[in-house]
Structures are given as structure tokens and as C-alpha cells.
Subunit: 392 residues, 2 copies
């Protein structure tokens, strides 16, 4: 970013989401429309005020044969004057959409924007889905050698255990904690807790990654209405201001990491977002981060500055990221429990943080006023961090 | 757009393209890197100055199994500080990328941006490609009923002939003209002229659409470097200023058109772009428009205001859009002759217009100072118009 530009403040005034899970018989368009209609109703804005639409999606062409999702949704909603685009950055797709909408409103190009994210994945088998998702690796170098995301995270997990003495049990506790949180989330895919014993004795996927270390394949959509803060009070009793936003690049191949236990895109995006917000990790009350695999939550919680590098497993064991702990992480259940409809996740994480900051979350963090989301695509090759605060 | 915002002027200072055609043995990444490296070299800018990258692509997930194209390219180029996203709007994908880059620089967020577009299609058969491209229809309503793009354009052609008396021969002349132009284009897929007799006696694809009425399946990539005009002279002897830019919505289903002979997205985008530029169709010296099918060129040439509605066929017959005519259309050969690597076409059209306005095109329009590009996605459901002029 050019350091000299002055932006208008931007807030979130409407949120909507479908239930996450295996939503048989519903198309990706249906899901996106449901989430968008809920978000617009929540924002209480006339549709003609929405000047642009960004649609986050990763693999709809492959999974459903449907593209042009942005104008498709705009047509369904009757947003005749909105300019629109689908944006893709693997699992970070819709957070990139949020960032673009934020920049458009911040520049004054539009006063209001709709951002939607959706994915329809469960018609594919888990094997087919894993292959499809490998489109987020460098397919002609590592992809062709069998690098899928379970195998990538197996490398990271092995290395973190080797470098820092992180234990198999500590890694498994991510799943136990997030499944326990998901019990309370009315829209989560899994609402049944798991025990540590179940987690560490589950069948192997890519050693040492076991079944409960992996997020599921999910259908779902989420949507947000963003508005210039100076206009937000006309529509919303509780606008949530975006005070930090960043999108950073990381390596796309495992072989390009100088250290497999830290993700440069997360470190850079977090640093930029904290700097914009003028706060640090200690000022954050609640976090939704990208726990696509259990190991990811530990690494990310370190890279985002909540715990020192190598201490994420220990912090987890001490309950620091549990409900009531110093910094509750993934009270929604995270990707592991709530589910991970890849293109929807960026919006879905912000949906959860907005519910927290409004004080209406079914798994509420007490007195949460400032929240952070972290959404990573591929091997963290594109990573987005947003920081939000309650305005009042 | 909010009418009150003041933008910085933005210019194009670098262009690059691969050859278009069946590029066996080359991956989509290879093609994008080639085009981007050429554009950056042409711009003579240090890579660290590039603040953002938008990558236009439609169907890489389906055709090649490769996504995250934007960070993949950024990593290959070493653009470590660039924020990036892939944007998709079917065949208008990379023109949407140009528009986003233009808005980002215009707002002062970045001084310089790279926009790339690429598609790798020829590993699929023409049938498979036609099915894949139907992802740009509403797949669950018309797509499922067999609405492919050849059949959509067959409907438009029938209706235009019925309403305005446009003849089969006039429609075929689009192909004859554009193939004649493509002979001169060093990077075109087809460099062999066709006669009107060949065109109108070719095998039917979807009656009355015949073989030479359809653009080919193509591999290719193109890239552009955009820069704030106030800085452009540092790098370029001949910056080309973007003086009009618009992205508008149109129907996604044939059944939603009130009149199949006019495209609301084209009319709206053109109106906005002319208004921004403060000029009209009579002030344009050279045009690259979206001739995915012969009929499209006639309809678009009317919707862009070059000829009255219904008179496009007659104008063509009179040679008004030929080289040396009143308004030369598609001197590059257009999509019909140069080829149509869907996600690349938006950037590729601008590449051609920049060559024209620099005065170095292999099929040069004399004294061209102002040019227009028109790039349409799907059934014109997302349509982008850019107007450019030579600065000096």
C-alpha cells in the first residue's frame, strides 16, 4: 500500500449465513442467495444502494460446473447497478473479496458493497475433493509429486514437533477444543464433541495427520454488507468497524519455505493489520483463525502473535485459547467443527466475529469488543487478516 | 460509482503477450510468466514497485487443475510485496482485472499494478471445451436444457436477421474481415484468410451458426503494467492513458432478455465509459470488441454506438469497419482470427489497442490516437469497456 492515501472508515452492517454441512439438493446459487438475502435484510438497506458485489469462490467450476457467480447472484438479487467480480485465492477467496470491497468503499467509489462467499463440495467424494483442492498447490511441480494438503500439513506437524517438542496430544487438543465450541454453534457441521483419545487413535490420513486433524468437506455460504461508517448509523444499531485489513503473499511450494513452522504471509498480513489498527495481539478479545488442520491453529496462533513461536501447543494445553482463556480462538468451532466450504470461509469467519462483537453469539466471549479473523489460501500463499471493533 | 470521488489518472506503460494458438507442452503458468515478464520489461519498472496483481482467468481449475494463479505468478516473478487476487467474470475476467487495478491506482492505494490474463484450453476437445464454457450460463436453468454459447448466438442471429433483415452473407463478412486482419498479426492463431463462400458453406454448429462463425479454442496469455500517469513518464516514452472504464451487469439467461438483439451490459458500460472520457463513438479511431461469434460483432458494433441498431450488417458490407473504413473494428483479427483464450482476452484486446496507439501495430490504423476495447462475459452478463488515448 502507498502510505499517503487517506481512506474513509468502513463498517460491517449486515451479516448472513446458511447452515454449514452436507446440504443435499441445494445448488451453489441457492446457498449464495440465502446468505445474501439474510445479510441484506440484516443490514436493512435498499438493494439499489449496493454499488458493488465481490463473490469469493474457489472451485465452483470443478465441483458444480457453474461460474460467473458474481453476476449470477447480482441478477438473482436484482442488483442492477452493481459492478461485480468473482475473486479467487483458494481458501482465502471471500476474505479477499471483503478486502476489495473495503478498499472500494474506503476510496469513495461506492458507499455500500455486498460480499458473498460460497462453495458446494459434498457431491464429490473426499478423495475427489482432496484432488480438486490440490489446485491450490503448484500443480506442475509439487502437486504432480503427490503434494496434497493433508501431506503438506503432515510435514509442518512433523517439523513443529521436532523443533519445539510439541506433542501429538497437544495438536489433538485443537480438535477437542474446537469440537467442544462447535456444540454451541447453531450452523456448524459437527455439533458433537470428541475426546482426546478419539482424536489421537483415529485412522491415519497422512502420517502423523489423523482423521480428526482434518477439517471436513462442506457446503455453505456466508455474506456481508459493508458500508461507509459515516452512513452506517442510518441502517445499523451496531455497526462493526474494520480497523485493520491486509492481504499478503507467502510461498506456494513447501520447498520454498525457509522454515516450515512459520508462515510468512500470516506474519506479514498480521503485522500490517495491527499497524493499521494501532493495536497489538494483546488487545484482541476474540479470534477466528484458519484451522483447516489442527496443526494450522497452533502455527497460526504463534504467527499472529498470541503466543511465542513454539509455545502454541503448550498454550493450548494450558487452556489459554479456550472459552474463558486469555484469548479464545475459534469459539465458532472453527473450520474443524463448523466446516470449511472453502470459498465461503473468509466471510463466514467475519460473520462469526460480528456476532461476537454484537454480543449475540451462541458461544459468546464475554465483553468482546475487538476481534480478528485470519483466512489463508493454499500453503498460506495468499493470507488475509481483518481486525474489527464494536463502535459505541 | 459514487459521483463525488476524485481519482488520479492512470496509464498503461507496459504490455506483453504470448503467441495465441495451440501451445502444446506449455502450462498456464508458463504462459502467464512469459506475458508478464514481457510486460514488465516493456514498462522498464523495477519489480518491487508493483503493488498489486490481478490475474484474469475463467476455467483453469477445470482445464488444468491449477488455481491460486495470482499468488503463483507473483511468486514466480518475485513480487514479494504485491497483494493479489484472481478475478473471474467468464470471458471478461482479465478486463475486470484491469478495471480493479485502475481503481486501486486511481485511489492512490498503489502506484503501479500488474494485470495478467491467461487460459490453457486446447488440451480439451472442442466438445469438452464447449461444455466447460457453459459454466458461464445459468447452469441449473438454461445450461441444463442444453444452452451452450453456439446455441445462444444462434438465437441472437436468428432474431437479428428476422428483426432487421440482416443477411447470412453480412454476418459471414465479419469472419472474412477479421481473418483478413489476422493475416498481419504476428501472434494470431489463424493467419490464413477465408472467403465468404467458405464461411457460408461451412458445416453447421448450431443452425444458423456455422463453423467460421465461432471463435476457436485457444491457449494464450497477455499482461499489462498500469501506473499512475503522474509517474508514467519516468518509465515510458509513450504512456497510454485510460480515460474511460466501466463494468456493467446484463442478463445471465437468454429468457431474461427483453430484446435478444441488444445487450444491456454493453450499452450501459459504453455509456458510462464515454461519459467519463467526455467523448462519443465518433471520436474513437480503433476498436477491439468481443467477436466470440460473428453475430456478436454486429450486435456489439451497434450497442457501442458505432452504427444504428439494425444497421451493423449493412455497415460491414459497406466496409465501414474494415481497415481504412470509418471505424476499423478488430484490426488484430479479433477473437475469430487471433483466438480467444477466455481469461486472457480482456488484457489481449488492450495489448492490441496499446500497440495501435503507440503506432507500432503490424496492422496499423493510421493516426490512431483514441481506442476502445469491449470485453463481454457469458451472455454479456458482465461487460467491461475501456477507452484509451495516446498522451502527447
Amino acid at each position: 500500500m502507498n502510505g499517503t492515501v487517506t481512506m474513509r472508515s468502513v463498517s460491517i452492517i449486515g451479516i448472513g449465513s446458511t447452515r454449514f454441512g452436507k446440504l443435499t439438493g441445494r445448488t451453489i446459487k441457492d446457498l449464495a442467495v440465502e446468505a445474501a438475502v439474510k445479510a441484506i435484510a440484516d443490514a436493512r438497506v435498499p438493494r439499489e444502494k449496493i454499488g458493488c458485489l465481490f463473490f469469493g469462490n474457489f472451485l465452483s467450476g470443478v465441483f458444480t460446473g457453474q461460474e460467473v457467480l458474481a453476476p449470477l447472484l447480482a441478477n438473482e438479487l436484482g442488483l442492477r447497478s452493481a459492478e461485480c467480480a468473482k475473486v479467487e485465492g483458494a481458501c482465502a477467496s471471500s476474505a479477499i473479496g471483503v478486502r476489495l470491497a473495503y478498499l472500494m468503499i474506503g476510496a469513495g467509489y461506492h458507499d455500500m458493497a455486498l460480499v458473498a462467499g460460497a462453495e458446494k463440495m459434498t457431491e464429490a467424494s473426499a478423495d475427489t475433493a482432496t484432488t480438486a483442492i490440490s489446485a491450490a498447490t503448484d500443480s506442475t511441480t509439487e502437486g504432480i509429486c503427490g503434494m496434497t494438503f493433508p501431506s503438506f500439513w503432515a510435514l509442518v506437524m512433523q517439523r513443529h514437533m521436532y523443533e519445539y517438542g510439541t506433542t501429538r496430544e497437544q495438536v489433538g487438543m485443537v480438535s477437542v477444543k474446537n469440537r467442544a465450541n462447535g456444540v454451541f454453534n447453531d450452523i456448524a457441521q459437527f455439533r458433537k464433541p470428541v475426546s482426546l483419545e478419539e482424536v489421537i487413535s483415529a485412522r491415519p490420513i497422512s502420517d502423523p495427520v489423523l482423521k480428526f486433524d482434518c477439517c471436513p468437506v462442506t457446503d455453505g455460504a456466508a455474506a456481508l454488507v459493508l458500508c461507509a461508517t459515516e452512513l452506517a448509523r442510518e441502517f445499523s444499531d451496531c455497526p462493526i468497524e474494520i480497523i485493520g485489513s491486509a492481504n499478503a503473499l507467502g510461498p506456494v511450494r513447501a520447498c520454498d519455505f525457509t522454515d516450515l513452522t512459520t508462515f510468512p504471509g500470516t506474519v506479514e498480513a498480521a503485522g500490517k493489520a495491527y499497524s493499521m489498527a494501532g493495536i497489538g495481539p494483546a488487545d484482541i478479545d476474540v479470534v477466528e483463525l484458519h484451522d483447516c488442520f489442527t496443526m494450522a491453529e497452533i502455527v497460526d496462533s504463534e504467527d499472529l502473535g498470541f503466543f511465542p513461536k513454539g509455545k502454541g501447543g503448550e498454550a493450548l494445553e494450558q487452556g489459554l485459547s479456550s472459552m474463558g482463556g486469555r484469548i479464545p480462538i475459534n469459539p465458532s468451532g472453527g473450520l474443524l467443527s463448523k466446516g470449511h466450504p472453502t470459498g465461503a470461509t473468509g466471510c463466514a469467519q467475519i460473520f462469526e466475529i460480528v456476532r461476537q462483537l454484537r454480543g449475540v453469539h451462541p458461544n459468546q466471549v464475554k465483553n468482546a469488543r475487538t476481534g480478528l479473523t485470519h483466512n489463508a489460501g493454499g500453503t498460506g500463499t495468499v493470507t488475509t487478516v481483518h481486525i474489527m471493533r464494536r463502535l459505541d
